[in-house]
């Protein structure tokens, strides 16, 4: 455990020293300030074509925009996970940094899991910090808070961890750039499959529905995003979503609880495959 934490601390220190934390912090604060201004404008907009805008319309618009903001941050987290995961292990294998680390009295499982842990902490801190800022800013200017913000953030982090795990496991054998690229493509594929799956529901096409379900099991990032999105929907919005709506940002039902058990097992298995692959890889 001690060695695992030593590796994780090295990963965290790298993020701080390479100004990743600083750069991400500045950009995020600027983004939150800008969106807060936008939400404030929305909240204070009382007239449309001479008619008064109802309060609940403003709330629905705010909640919809907030989910879109969350989607944007989930995309940033997904890319961040692919980026961090590929660089932390794949590039250190390629550039030889690990040659000075692995001969030390460390188990390889401690090295890869330690790096995973360091990156996971980074992603979780970023998700929590960003969400707290964004939700706080929106609440301050509109008075609206999503129904279950903590669960939403936890699910965004879970989605990022899925992609981090996939990238790190791939980067044991692939080059850093290839591992990152493959993960981003698979993330995009899963997202698209989610949309196609929603359309298959509308058109009652069970074959396509089953295929997209299979994709969501193999790459669970979109399934987790849908759960995050659902957790942010206010009741008033759910009441407005009709059976025939196909909106990837507003799922009509969340994934079943069993799906999250599957996701946890998926994560452990993929990480386990990465560990085993790393243990048998020549450096």
């Amino acid at each position: 455990m001690r060695n695992l934490l030593l590796i994780a601390s090295l990963t965290l220190r790298e993020a701080a020293r390479r100004r990743l934390v600083l750069a991400a912090g500045i950009v995020t604060i600027a983004l939150v300030a800008l969106t807060a201004f936008g939400f404030h404008s929305l909240a204070t907009m009382h007239q449309r074509g001479g008619a008064t805008i109802a309060r609940h319309d403003v709330l629905v618009a705010t909640s919809m925009l907030e989910i879109m903001m969350a989607f944007m941050f989930s995309f940033v987290l997904a890319l961040g996970a692919a980026f961090l995961g590929a660089l932390s292990l794949g590039s250190e294998i390629e550039n030889g940094t690990l040659l000075a680390i692995l001969p030390r009295p460390l188990r390889r499982i401690e090295v890869i899991v330690g790096k995973w842990l360091g990156n996971a902490v980074l992603l979780a801190l970023y998700a929590a910090g960003t969400s707290a800022l964004e939700f706080g800013a929106i609440a301050a200017v509109t008075g609206y808070t999503p129904p279950n913000p903590v669960l939403s953030v936890a699910l965004l982090v879970a989605q990022a961890l899925v992609l981090l795990t996939l990238t790190m496991s791939l980067s044991v054998r692939l080059s850093a750039i290839a591992a990152g690229f493959v993960t981003v493509v698979l993330y995009g594929l899963a997202w698209m499959a989610g949309i196609v799956g929603s359309m298959a529901d509308v058109f009652h096409n069970s074959g396509v529905r089953d295929a997209t379900t299979l994709v969501s099991l193999i790459i669970p990032s979109d399934g987790i995003w849908r759960a995050a999105s659902f957790s942010m929907e206010p009741l008033i919005m759910r009441a407005m979503v009709s059976a025939n709506d196909v909106n990837p940002l507003v799922p009509k039902v969340p994934p079943p609880n069993l799906y999250f058990v599957w996701c946890a097992m998926w994560l452990l298995v993929v990480l386990g495959v990465g560990v085993r692959s790393f243990q048998t890889r020549d450096i």
């Binding site: 030593l6 940094t97 040659l99 000075a100 009295p105």
Partner: protein, 293 residues
């Protein structure tokens, strides 16, 4: 117990055998030179010893423990051929991290770190970012990492590849210092003068196979002397340096007119080229284990 003992250690990549049946025994406290041209299999052999590369077959033990033993790795220092350290850290921070992994006594970290930085000539640069260092300075840092914690076995893979002549002299002095402390040094190099000046014994590897091994004195053969007389030249073999005055005295006593007396001995470079250019042998030159005294 040997510092390093390998038996038929082999690494095969697809159809290519990178290291073929490597069998060596290196005594504790010995400075061992591992020689070979580029691509001979030196680094692959070293990586197998350190657990970075999995052998295809064969066995090896370091400091009495099987390959991969964490206990043995606590007592081993390593400078990789491709050295690269976290450029966003300072030497102090890198050494501090390695001290933590080695579980050195926390109260001694500071002194130990200052000591190794001094020994490699980086005492004044301990708080600078590694990203600002030249390749030579990074290699010196690698040496500091390798000798941190007074390891029982130090494996140096091309330790002077980025160093200037002054740096090379420093490394030679460092190796001698390690030897005087009883540390076993495995020196992987193709710089033969460097090896000849510091190593007790060597092995020559080409195409993954050991072609010759043994103490340097035995490998190079006994020295001789070339005596030039007023009317010709004579080469006398098997004459150690301390016997040359007596030889000269005997010639003078016989009334010979001596013009010059030149001790001759094959250099390691000459011997190396002879071995590398010769046909592969079924058995290596010199007994494989004779140097393991």
């Amino acid at each position: 117990m040997y510092a390093i003992e390998t038996r038929e250690l082999t690494k095969i990549y697809g159809a290519r055998t990178a290291v073929d049946s490597l069998t060596v025994r290196i005594a504790r406290g010995e400075v061992f030179g591992f020689l070979g041209p580029n691509g001979a299999g030196k680094t692959t052999a070293v990586k197998m010893l350190l657990g970075l590369v999995r052998p295809s077959s064969g066995h090896a033990a370091l400091l009495g423990s099987p390959l991969g033993s964490l206990d043995a790795r606590r007592k081993i220092g390593y400078l990789p051929e491709l050295f690269r350290y976290q450029e966003w850290l300072t030497p102090h921070e890198i050494l501090h991290w390695h001290a933590a992994v080695l579980r050195l006594h926390a109260a001694k970290w500071r002194d130990a770190i200052e000591e190794v930085l001094r020994r490699v000539g980086l005492a004044e640069r301990g708080n600078d970012r590694v990203g600002q260092f030249s390749k030579g300075m990074q290699q010196r840092l690698g040496l500091a990492v390798a000798i941190l914690g007074e390891p029982e076995l130090v494996i140096l893979d091309e330790p002077t590849s980025a160093l200037d002549p002054l740096g090379r002299a420093d490394v030679r002095a460092l190796v001698q210092e390690l030897k005087s402390r009883g540390t076993t040094v495995f020196l992987n190099s193709h710089l033969l003068t460097e090896v000849e000046s510091v190593c007790d014994s060597v092995a020559v590897i080409t195409g993954g196979c050991i072609r010759a091994t043994g103490p340097i004195d035995r490998l190079l053969g006994r020295p001789g002397v070339r005596v030039t007389f007023a009317n010709g030249t004579s080469v006398v073999e098997d004459v150690p340096n301390d016997e040359i005055p007596a030889l000269v005295a005997s010639y003078v006593a016989k009334g010979a007119a001596i013009v010059s007396v030149v001790p001759i001995r094959q250099t390691l470079e000459e011997r190396f080229l002879e071995i590398v250019r010769s046909e592969p042998l079924a058995q290596p030159v010199v007994d494989r284990i004779t140097h393991a005294s």
